[in-house]
C-alpha cells in the first residue's frame, strides 16, 4: 500500500511569489492534515479535512494560506504571496482513525 506522498519535495521561491504544495493521502483515508515545521521549532498543526470539508483550520497562520481538497482525495496548500517567514517544512498526514501517517514533507524556502 502506498504511503502519503507530497510534491514537490523542495521548492525555492522569491518573496511575493505563489507556491502550491500537493498531498496525496493513503487511499481510503477520509482525514487529511497539514502541519508545518519552521526552523528550530516544533511541528505545528495547520488544518484538518474530513473528506472535502475543512473540519478545523484554526492553525492556519493567516489568509495568505489556502488549502483545498476537491473531491475528497488529494489536497493542495497554496501560499500567496509568500513571505520569508513561510520558509519551513510542510507535512501532510492522513488517517483512517486515530493514527496519523505522515508524508515526507515539502521543504519550502522563500528568498
Amino acid at each position: 500500500e502506498a504511503g502519503v506522498t507530497q510534491f514537490p519535495s523542495h521548492s525555492v521561491i522569491e518573496k511575493g511569489q505563489t507556491v502550491t504544495l500537493r498531498c496525496d493521502p493513503i487511499s481510503g483515508h477520509d482525514n487529511l492534515y497539514w502541519y508545518r515545521r519552521v526552523m528550530g521549532k516544533e511541528i505545528k498543526f495547520l488544518l484538518h479535512f474530513v473528506k472535502e470539508s475543512k473540519q478545523d483550520e484554526s492553525g492556519m497562520p493567516n489568509n495568505r494560506f489556502l488549502a483545498e481538497r476537491t473531491g475528497g482525495t488529494y489536497s493542495t496548500l497554496k501560499v500567496q504571496p509568500a513571505e520569508l517567514e513561510d520558509s519551513g517544512v510542510y507535512f501532510c498526514a492522513s488517517s483512517h482513525s486515530d493514527t496519523q501517517y505522515f508524508g515526507p514533507g515539502t521543504r519550502l524556502t522563500v528568498l
Binding site: N31, Y35, H48, F91, D98, Q100, F102
Partner: protein, 110 residues
C-alpha cells in the same frame, strides 16, 4: 499556555542498553499520545499510540507509559541497536489535532 517538553540534549547510549525518553506536558488534556520516529529529511514515522486510560503499551522492543497525573509519558527502546539512532517525537492528541514536542535525538553507539 500549553507546553510539551522533550529533552533537548541528545541521548548517547551504548548498543544493547535501554534508551529512555521523557515527554512532559502542561496545560493540556490529551485524549491519547503518540510517539513518532523521524530521520533527517524524512517525515515522522508512527511507532506507538497510548490512550489516556492506558498505563502501558508495548510493541516489539518499544514500550510506552502514560501517567496523566504526572502529565508524563516515558518511551523505552530496549536492546538498542545503531539502526535505532534517530529523533523521537512525542505528540499529544485532542480533537484530532496533534501537538508535538521538539523531539529528542538518540544516538546508539556500536
Amino acid at each position: 499556555s500549553q507546553k510539551i517538553e522533550q529533552n533537548s540534549e541528545a541521548l548517547n547510549i551504548q548498543e544493547g542498553k535501554t534508551a529512555t525518553l521523557t515527554c512532559n506536558y502542561t496545560n493540556y488534556s490529551p485524549a491519547y499520545l503518540q510517539w513518532y520516529r523521524q530521520d533527517p529529511g524524512r517525515g515522522p514515522v508512527f511507532l506507538l499510540l497510548i490512550r489516556e486510560n492506558e498505563k502501558e503499551k508495548r510493541k516489539e522492543r518499544l514500550k510506552v507509559t502514560f501517567d496523566t497525573t504526572l502529565k508524563q509519558s516515558l518511551f523505552h527502546i530496549t536492546a538498542s541497536q545503531p539502526a535505532d539512532s534517530a529523533t523521537y517525537l512525542c505528540a499529544l492528541a485532542r480533537n484530532n489535532r496533534l501537538a508535538f514536542g521538539k523531539g529528542n535525538q538518540v544516538v546508539v553507539i556500536p
